[in-house]
């Protein structure tokens, strides 16, 4: 479904991603792991079009999407849920998700139809499936961190992606919230037929849901395989020396 080959991104003389390779198959949950600064977030931003790659290919469903503007990539079916809560803070929870649904339905320039009549069913459906329905009328800027992260995910789901990319979905969450989020991700995948790509520092969480793992270090892919393969990989043990794998 998604294939990244020899991807490279330089910011001036700093090579944030030097050689990233990744394959994600339909229906999989793939995790990207690696120490801080390994280039995981940059990789995600390259795939979703917020940065333009300096070199390399990103093929999504048979189409090279490297360098397309972010909104085109979103329309192609890739959504990103941010590491830091990044929502529309003055809008309600409902409106936040509705905007994504409207974008998906290409109703962006419709100045005649009141928004309250559009995309209502789809928006409620997303809110209910992530469990935010009872907070739908809250202004999103007033949500707790945990709820904010869930809203992050709900917005990303609003434009009906086939591939959902999540940048540290459980960062900053309590153990209970983390457990809830893991359940949620598993459920969403089966309910919505999603393919999921995420990165995370919490190894327990990674091994509990990821089918396959890609390991990055210094901007380069050093291993990709199933959980067991990766655990046994010598390079990986080296990269993670001191961190329990």
């Amino acid at each position: 479904m998604l294939k990244v080959e020899g991807l490279q991104k330089a910011f001036g003389s700093f090579m944030a991603v030097s050689d990233a390779n990744l394959e994600v198959r339909q229906g999989e949950i793939v995790a990207v792991i690696g120490p801080n600064g390994a280039g995981k977030t940059t990789l995600f931003r390259l795939i979703t079009g917020q940065h333009k790659p300096s070199r390399g290919r990103i093929v999504f469903e048979g189409r090279d999407i490297a360098g397309l503007p972010a909104h085109r990539i979103a329309q192609a079916g890739i959504s990103l849920s941010y590491q830091v809560v990044s929502v529309f803070s003055r809008l309600t929870v409902f409106d936040n998700v509705q905007v994504a649904v409207l974008a998906h339905q290409r109703r962006l320039l419709d100045i005649l139809t009141p928004a309250r009549r559009l995309a209502v069913k789809e928006t409620w459906e997303v809110l209910e499936s992530v469990g935010l329905a009872d907070k739908a009328r809250r202004t999103s800027g007033t949500l707790s961190h945990g709820d904010g992260k869930v809203l992050e995910m709900a917005i990303a789901l609003g434009n009906r992606p086939r591939l959902l990319i999540m940048d540290e979905p459980t960062a900053g969450m309590s153990p209970e919230e983390t457990a809830g989020t893991i359940e949620l991700i598993k459920r969403l995948r089966s309910e919505r037929d999603l393919t999921i790509l995420f990165c995370e520092h919490d190894m327990e969480m990674v091994f509990s849901i990821a089918g396959r793992i890609m390991v990055m270090q210094y901007g380069r892919t050093i291993a990709q395989g199933t959980c067991d393969e990766v655990k046994c990989d010598l390079h990986v043990q080296e990269a993670y020396l001191g961190i329990s794998v």
């Binding site: 079009g49 909104h71 990044s86 929502v87 003055r90 309600t92 509705q98 974008a103 009141p114």
Partner: protein, 320 residues
């Protein structure tokens, strides 16, 4: 949302009463007050059109009155230089303003925030300079006076009703726009551009659309000025007036729909009343403005709506 909220009901009743009062104003008020009310409507409409991009779009359109002035000039020139029906001039004003807004928008929209504002104010000032200098066509700094208006709106009452009806229709149209699908997404762009990109919104296109709409309604207020005053002059698009219109938005509450209209009323009345006693009325405006920034950061209307508990405090108040 739009169900039976008692505070909302009360506000609706008050609004209807105000509208009725405005319709019967010429029957009981002296001519001067009718004229003043028309002026408030014109400036209020101008401020509301600015707020479309400023409050709802988060775009720093520093020089909005250029569309007011261009709308007014387009109407004035059509009426004085062609033999076409003057009503066509009133139609041409908003369209020319929207077209100018499209051109300026295409140039400016690639920049963000303050840089957008700086480029926009420069281009706007350029338009002002052309109008100010082009004596043979625009009358230069003299402007164009004694514009022959259609008989129906040449009296004070006639122009007042024309202004009132057009203003109400324009307000209704803008209200629909900010609550439309476009408007909802536009507000999302204000709150978080990057996020909008990643959910599939072409942000620049959305902003350009907002600019064109704001320019159009700025042009509407411009032609209404012609209907009320029967004259145009370059000061209509001088940047200081743009500043005044921004103040109207902030004063009334730029996250409320009717705030800019209220801000316009406050400023026009203040200038008229205090202006009788002293030419330093801007001093009082400055003091009031400082107090408001300190104590009512959401503006006058924003404050009252919050007190009523009707708005979610920080929401964009699509329902005001």
């Amino acid at each position: 949302m739009e169900f039976t909220d008692p505070a909302k009901r009360k506000a609706q009743v008050a609004g209807l009463a105000l509208m009725a009062a405005m319709f019967f104003l010429p029957a009981f008020a002296p001519r001067f007050y009718v004229y003043l009310a028309a002026l408030i409507l014109v400036r209020g409409l101008l401020a509301t059109s600015l707020n479309l991009v400023l409050g709802y779009g988060g775009m720093y359109q520093f020089h909005h009155t250029v569309f007011y002035g261009v709308g007014a000039y387009a109407a004035a020139l059509m009426i004085t230089k062609t033999v076409l029906s003057p009503w066509l001039g009133f139609l041409a004003g908003p369209l020319v303003a929207a077209a100018l807004s499209l051109v300026m928008g295409l140039i400016c929209v690639r920049l963000s925030k303050l840089y957008f504002g700086m480029l926009q104010i420069s281009l706007g000032s350029l338009v002002w300079a052309i109008v100010f200098r082009w004596y043979s066509f625009t009358g230069g700094d003299d402007g164009i006076h004694n514009i022959p208006l259609p008989a129906a709106i040449s009296s004070i009452n006639g122009s007042y009703y024309f202004t009132l009806v057009v203003s109400l229709l324009s307000l209704a149209a803008m209200y629909l726009i900010v609550n439309s699908a476009f408007g909802r997404v536009f507000q999302a762009v204000r709150d978080n551009q990057e996020r909008c990109e990643t959910i599939g919104v072409p942000v620049k296109r959305q902003q350009l659309m907002g600019l064109v709409l704001a320019g159009f309604f700025g042009g509407v207020s411009g032609v209404l000025f012609v209907a009320v005053e029967g004259t145009v002059f370059p000061d209509l698009m001088f940047w200081t007036l743009s500043l005044e219109v921004i103040i109207m938005c902030l004063l009334g509450g730029w996250f409320t729909f009717l705030g800019p209209m209220l801000g316009a009323a406050i400023i026009v009345i203040l200038r008229t009343v205090v202006g009788i006693y002293t030419e330093y009325w801007t001093f009082f405006l400055g003091v009031i403005l400082m107090l408001i920034i300190f104590f009512l950061p959401e503006g006058v209307l924003g404050y009252f709506l919050e007190r009523l508990g009707r708005t979610r405090p920080t929401s964009a108040v699509s329902e005001s």
